[in-house]
C-alpha cells in the first residue's frame, strides 16, 4: 500500500460517482487524511494507506448514516460502529458511505432514495445493476476506488453483489463481527461482510475486525472463539460437498461449465468431492420471507420522526400516529412492513412465524449433520464422515439491465425474491460463506460450518487459484 496508489483511488471517485452512483456521501477530507498519515505517525499501522467504503447502514460519527432512506435523511450518529472504530484504529481512511437498497431490502441495488447504483464492470449507459443490497460497497471495490468495503449480509446482500461485480464477498459466521452500530434490518440474520479485490486484503481486514464486542449481545464470546481455534485443523486434502439443491436448470451454461471445471480441478489436486443433498434448503425462501419482515417490523417501528432523521410537518393523519413521517419509507420497505405485521398478527403467528422458526432449526440441524466440523452453538452430534466445505453458484443469472429488473419486479415482486435462492440458506444457519469471482459478473460460493471461517478462507485461496488456472 502506498500513498500514491491511495490518492489515485480517491481522485477517481468523482468520475466513478457520476457514472455509477456508488456513494451516498463522499468524504471530501479523504485525500488530506491520507496525506497526514505520516505526520500522525500512523504509517506502520496494518491498514495504513488503504481506502475503504462503508455501507450506509453502518454508523459513522463524522459522516451521515441514512440506510438510503428519506426517513434518515441527514441523520448523524453520535458514535462510530465498532467495525468502523476498528478500521480507523488500524489506519484506514474512509472514502464515503456507500449506496444500498433502502434498509437492506432488495437484491438488485435499485431501491435507494439516492437512485440506483450501476455496475462498473459494464459501460454506464448499459445501466446494468450491481446486485444488492450492498450495491455501492461492491461497486466501489469493482471500480477500484477503494481497497475494500464493508457491507452487510442478511440474505445474500454481500455475496450476490460480489458475484455480479466479480469481487470477493465474505459473509463471516454470524456473531464474528460486531453489529454494534449496524442499523438493524433483521437482527437474527444481519452480518457485517467484507468486499475486496484480492484474498490477502480480505484476510487482513477480517483478522482486524474479528473481535469479541461486549456492546453487541450476539457477539461470539472469547471462549467460543477459543473453541473454534482449537477445533480447526490444517488439512492437505479437503472433503468438499456439492449440494444438489443449489442446482437449477435455468442457470446459464457458462456457470455450469465453470463449476464443473473447478470441481474437476479440485479432484485432480487430491481433494475428495461428494454429492450432498439437503432437502430443507428448498424451504429457505419461505422461511426467510416469513422471519425477516417480522424482525424488520420491530426494528423499523422506531422511525417516528421524533428521534432520528426526517420528520413530517404533522405527527398524525386520519387518527394514526406518525403516518406522515413513515410515508417516507420507500415502496419496498412499506411492502415488507405490511407483510411482517401480517405474519405477526395473532391469526397467522403460529401458522407462519413459529412454523418458520422450527423449520429454520431443522435447516440448521440438517447442515450440522453434513459437516464434520462441529456446530459449537447447537451442540448437535458431529458427523465424522461429513464434509469440510461446500461449493455452489452464488447467483442464478447474470446481472440484468435496470429497466428489465424494474419491469420484472413490477410484474411480480417474487421474481426478485428468488434471486437469493443460493444465498439465503447459509444466512438462516449463520454459516461463513465467501463468493469467489469465477467469470465476468458471476461467482461461486464456498461455505463451511459456523465458526470454521479460517479453514474456509484457506480453501478459498486454493479455489481462486484453480479458477484462474
Amino acid at each position: 500500500m502506498s500513498i500514491k496508489a491511495a490518492l489515485s483511488k480517491v481522485q477517481r471517485i468523482p468520475e466513478v460517482q457520476t457514472h455509477y452512483n456508488v456513494f451516498n456521501y463522499v468524504n471530501e477530507m479523504a485525500s488530506s487524511q491520507l496525506k497526514s498519515i505520516e505526520k500522525r505517525n500512523a504509517s506502520s499501522k496494518p491498514l495504513a494507506y488503504t481506502v475503504a467504503a462503508v455501507k450506509d447502514n453502518i454508523v459513522t460519527k463524522d459522516m451521515p448514516s441514512t440506510c438510503s432512506s428519506k426517513i434518515l435523511d441527514g441523520y448523524m450518529s453520535p458514535f462510530d460502529a465498532t467495525v468502523v472504530s476498528l478500521l480507523l484504529e488500524a489506519g484506514t481512511v474512509i472514502a464515503g458511505k456507500a449506496n444500498m437498497d433502502e434498509f437492506g431490502m432488495g437484491s438488485a441495488g435499485i431501491h435507494s432514495y439516492f437512485g440506483p447504483t450501476f455496475n462498473p464492470l459494464f459501460k454506464p449507459e448499459d445501466q446494468i445493476v450491481t446486485g444488492g443490497s450492498s450495491s455501492g460497497s461492491a461497486a466501489a471495490v469493482a471500480a477500484g476506488v477503494v481497497d475494500f468495503a464493508l457491507g452487510t449480509d442478511t440474505g445474500g446482500s454481500v455475496r450476490l453483489p460480489a458475484s455480479y461485480t466479480s469481487t470477493f464477498g465474505f459473509k463471516p459466521s454470524y456473531g464474528r463481527l460486531s453489529r454494534h452500530g449496524v442499523i438493524s434490518y433483521a437482527q437474527s440474520l444481519d452480518t457485517v461482510g467484507i468486499f475486496a479485490n484480492d484474498l490477502a486484503t480480505m484476510n487482513k481486514v477480517f483478522s482486524i475486525l474479528d473481535k469479541y464486542d461486549e456492546k453487541d449481545p450476539t457477539s461470539l464470546s472469547e471462549e467460543l472463539r477459543h473453541n473454534f481455534r482449537s477445533l480447526a485443523t490444517k488439512k492437505k486434502s479437503l472433503k468438499i460437498g456439492i449440494p444438489e439443491e443449489f442446482s437449477q436448470e435455468s442457470v446459464p451454461a457458462e456457470f455450469r461449465a465453470t463449476m464443473t471445471r473447478i470441481i474437476k480441478h479440485l479432484m485432480n489436486y487430491g481433494h475428495e468431492v461428494y454429492p450432498v443433498s439437503i432437502p430443507s434448503v428448498k424451504n429457505a425462501l419461505s422461511i426467510y420471507y416469513t422471519l425477516s419482515p417480522s424482525e424488520a417490523v420491530s426494528n423499523l417501528s422506531r422511525y417516528d420522526g421524533l428521534r432520528y432523521g426526517y420528520r413530517a410537518e404533522s405527527d398524525i393523519e386520519n387518527g394514526t400516529l406518525f403516518t406522515p413521517t413513515r410515508s417516507a419509507f420507500g415502496p419496498e420497505v412499506q411492502n415488507r412492513i405490511i407483510l411482517g405485521n401480517y405474519n405477526l398478527c395473532s391469526e397467522s403467528f403460529k401458522n407462519n412465524y413459529i412454523k418458520a422458526q422450527k423449520l429454520r432449526v431443522q435447516l440448521i440441524n440438517d447442515f450440522d449433520s453434513a459437516f464434520r466440523f462441529p456446530n459449537v452453538l447447537s451442540g448437535n452430534t458431529v458427523n465424522k464422515d461429513g464434509v469440510d466445505i461446500m461449493l455452489s453458484l452464488t447467483s442464478t443469472s447474470f446481472p440484468g439491465n435496470y429497466d428489465e429488473v424494474v419491469n420484472k419486479e413490477n410484474d411480480n415482486p417474487l421474481n426478485t425474491y428468488i434471486n437469493d435462492i443460493f444465498t439465503m440458506p447459509m444466512s438462516l444457519c449463520g454459516l461463513p460463506t465467501m463468493t469467489v469471482p469465477a467469470g465476468n459478473a458471476f461467482g461461486i460460493q464456498a461455505f463451511s460450518q459456523h465458526g470454521n471461517d479460517y479453514e474456509l478462507l484457506d480453501a478459498c485461496y486454493e479455489i481462486n487459484a484453480l479458477v484462474n488456472s
Partner: protein, 174 residues
C-alpha cells in the same frame, strides 16, 4: 435426489413426534465422485425449480379483505391508500410463504433454537449476577452520560423543580 446416487446416500430421517405418518428427511452425503463424467451428470440435472414458487396468477382465495389491509396499514403506521394493490401483492407473497403450512416439522423442536446463539448456555448464578450488578459502569461509548437528556426541556413553565408540560412531543395533535 438423483436416482443413480439414491441407493448409496446415507440419509438422516427424523420421525415426527406428533403426527406419526409424516417424516422429515434430513441431509445425506453420496459416494465420492470418481470420474469427470459423474460430476458432469450431477451438475447437469436439477431436482426442483424455484420458478415453481412464483405464481403465474393471483390466487383469489389468498386475497386478504380490505378490512385486514386497513388494519395492517394502521398498525404499520402507513397511509391508508392503494388498498387494491396491497391486496394483490400480499396474496402473491402469501402464496409463497404459505408453503410452510404443509411442510412436515418435528413438533418437539424448540423454536427459540432458531437464533444463532448457544442453545444451552451456562446458567447465570446468584453470585455472578450480583457481581455484574456491582461492577456495572456507565458506558460513555453507549451514550450513557448523566445529564445528556433533559426530560422536562420542552416544558415552558418551570419553577423550583416543578414543571408544567403543555406542549408535548407531538406535532399536529390537538
Amino acid at each position: 435426489m438423483l436416482p443413480a446416487l439414491r441407493r448409496q446416500f446415507v440419509v438422516t430421517v427424523r420421525l415426527f413426534s406428533g403426527k406419526s405418518s409424516q417424516k422429515v428427511v434430513g441431509s445425506s452425503i453420496g459416494p465420492k465422485f470418481t470420474s469427470d463424467k459423474e460430476v458432469e451428470e450431477f451438475l447437469g440435472k436439477s431436482t426442483w425449480n424455484v420458478r415453481d414458487y412464483v405464481p403465474t396468477s393471483v390466487d383469489q382465495k389468498l386475497i386478504p379483505s380490505e378490512e385486514t389491509v386497513v388494519k395492517l396499514l394502521k398498525i404499520s403506521g402507513l397511509p391508508i391508500e392503494n388498498i387494491d394493490q396491497i391486496q394483490v401483492r400480499l396474496a402473491n407473497q402469501l402464496s409463497f410463504i404459505n408453503r410452510l403450512h404443509s411442510l412436515p416439522v418435528d413438533e418437539d423442536i424448540n423454536p427459540n433454537h432458531a437464533r444463532i446463539i448457544e442453545r444451552n448456555p451456562k446458567g447465570l448464578d446468584y453470585k455472578s449476577l450480583m457481581d455484574r450488578v456491582k461492577n456495572q459502569e456507565k458506558s460513555q461509548a453507549l451514550g450513557e452520560l448523566s445529564g445528556s437528556w433533559d426530560s422536562t426541556k420542552s416544558a415552558a413553565v418551570k419553577l423550583h423543580g416543578f414543571f408544567i408540560l403543555k406542549e408535548g412531543l407531538l406535532k399536529g395533535r390537538n
